[in-house]
């Protein structure tokens, strides 16, 4: 049976991690390449890099990071942040990433999803959805709205309708990030996750809110997600990836346990 994936997310700014990661022995590591290697060794199923600078000058530094990461990890990894064009996407794939994660750029220019899917294949196209709960209106019938720029800008798009549109445009996977849950450590937004899973034929990654292994469990059971994205719970040494997976496996969730 297909395993549920545990995906680790790393934020990079000008070639270094935005926050140092505490690995065993309390070593604080800011190097994204070394951190990726350690998470690979520790059993991460996939790694996602977000370039949060995404300015033109920092782009070269980031591509070099992608290249060096590709030399040391042998699991899929995706790259997001500031990708605006087919050329930007080609550059990160050519540097060794398997997948591209589009977010704001897809909202501003949905055609980019189709172009990317045609050029690189749907398997390479992940679309990130930042979602905020809002009052139900005619234009937002689900009560979930797509926001961009880290949640600062409302788009007027209904999240469920947008998820379907994105899948139709050729995305291979969706990463559903709840802005409400993000940073709370109270668990993923399960209703949102489940509604999107039920609306689209492609795999869905739950994102935002993980504070404990049980949150990953509810994301893939109640939330029906194919994968769960984690960041701070492993970055700050609260749990290891192995502990998260053991928790899932003990409750009958299929996970990759040999790596």
């Amino acid at each position: 049976m297909l395993s549920k994936r545990v995906i680790v997310c790393l934020d990079v700014r000008r070639g270094i991690l935005t926050k140092g990661i505490k690995f065993a022995g309390n070593q604080d590591i800011g190097d994204p390449v070394e951190s990726a290697r350690r998470y690979y060794e520790a059993g991460a199923d996939e790694i996602v890099f977000y370039d949060i600078t995404a300015s033109a000058e920092a782009r070269g530094i980031f591509l070099d990071v992608v290249k060096r990461v590709a030399e040391v990890i042998f699991i899929p990894f995706s790259v997001g942040g500031g990708l605006q064009s087919l050329n930007d996407m080609y550059a990160v794939l050519n540097a060794g990433a398997e997948k591209i994660s589009l977010n704001s750029a897809a909202v501003k220019n949905p055609g980019l999803i189709r172009q990317g899917a045609l050029e690189f294949g749907s398997q390479a196209m992940v679309v990130g959805l930042d979602v905020l709960q809002v009052p139900v209106t005619n234009s937002i019938p689900s009560g979930y709205e797509i926001v961009i720029h880290g949640g600062r800008l409302h788009t007027g798009r209904d999240a469920i309708a947008w998820a379907k549109e994105v899948a139709d445009l050729g995305a291979g996977e969706l990463c559903v990030n709840s802005i409400d849950a993000d940073g709370t450590k109270n668990g993923y937004e399960l209703t949102l996750t489940r509604r999107i899973v039920e609306a689209v034929p492609i795999p869905v990654i739950a994102s935002g809110g993980a504070g404990a292994p049980e949150h990953l469990y509810t994301a893939v059971t109640e939330g029906l997600a194919q994968a769960a994205l984690i960041a701070s719970i492993v970055h700050y040494g609260e749990y290891t990836i192995a502990e998260c997976k053991e928790y899932l496996a003990a409750r009958g969730v299929p996970v990759r346990s040999t790596w």
Binding site: L2, V204, R256, T258
Partner: protein, 213 residues
């Protein structure tokens, strides 16, 4: 030296990086003479069958591959590469190389997984193998190891060639082959240490065969 067959639909750089990490010498090339000089060949592939076959035909690589397989050079097909060695794919209604008996079919929409949950297509993520025959590629690898799959079409080779199957709502062939001509539906270069071990085992097999000749 292993040869990685270079054509437009290849994910050859990720395979080359994996071989580099294993200290296995390799060359990425489309030159028949260079491929012929290798102890074994890897035939990668991502993308669509129709496009890949068109490229293989127009570049002459289709003929080169047939000749290499006839000359008994070990060959490992990966993902689309493994599919293309078969005879026919429902993807773009494509006639394939026909080096291995069998065909590719599309995963049906609307089926459920083993636990009754929805089955998204593509089949994307790590899944297990159920072995039906021994294969030197899997020597000393934990049988419960998972491998990374990403595909919407699945292989259906001639039954006697099946080495392992995988379950995703239905059972399909994930590894086929015999005697140095093998196909993997998953990506060993993206499957952590067990995947790297397969590449190492393939290289060891190629060297042994080469020394024996």
């Amino acid at each position: 030296m292993l040869g990685i067959v270079d054509y437009q639909a290849g994910n050859h750089t990720s395979v080359a990086r994996a071989l580099r990490a294993l200290d296995i010498p390799c060359v990425i090339t489309n030159e028949p003479a260079k491929l012929q000089a290798c102890v074994g060949l890897i035939f990668p592939g991502v993308g669509a069958a129709g496009q890949a076959m068109a490229t293989l035909q127009s570049s002459g690589m289709a003929q080169t591959l047939k000749e290499l397989v006839q000359s008994q050079v070990p060959l490992l097909g990966i993902c689309l590469g493994a599919q293309i060695l078969l005879e026919y794919s429902a993807e773009n209604d494509t006639k394939l190389l026909g080096l291995v008996k069998g065909e590719c079919r599309k995963f049906a929409q609307g089926l459920t997984q083993e636990d009754g949950s929805k089955r998204p297509i593509p089949h994307m993520g790590y899944n297990q193998l159920n072995f039906v025959a021994d294969c030197p590629l899997f020597a000393k690898i934990a049988p419960e190891a998972c491998y990374y799959f990403v595909h919407s079409y699945y292989m259906q080779p001639s039954k006697e060639l099946i080495i392992a199957t995988t379950n995703y709502g239905e059972t399909f062939c994930s590894v086929y082959g015999r005697n140095g001509l093998w196909g993997l539906q998953f990506h060993p270069e993206k499957s952590g240490r067990p995947g790297l071990s397969i590449l190492k085992n393939f290289y060891n097999y190629c060297q042994e065969i080469s020394h024996a000749q």
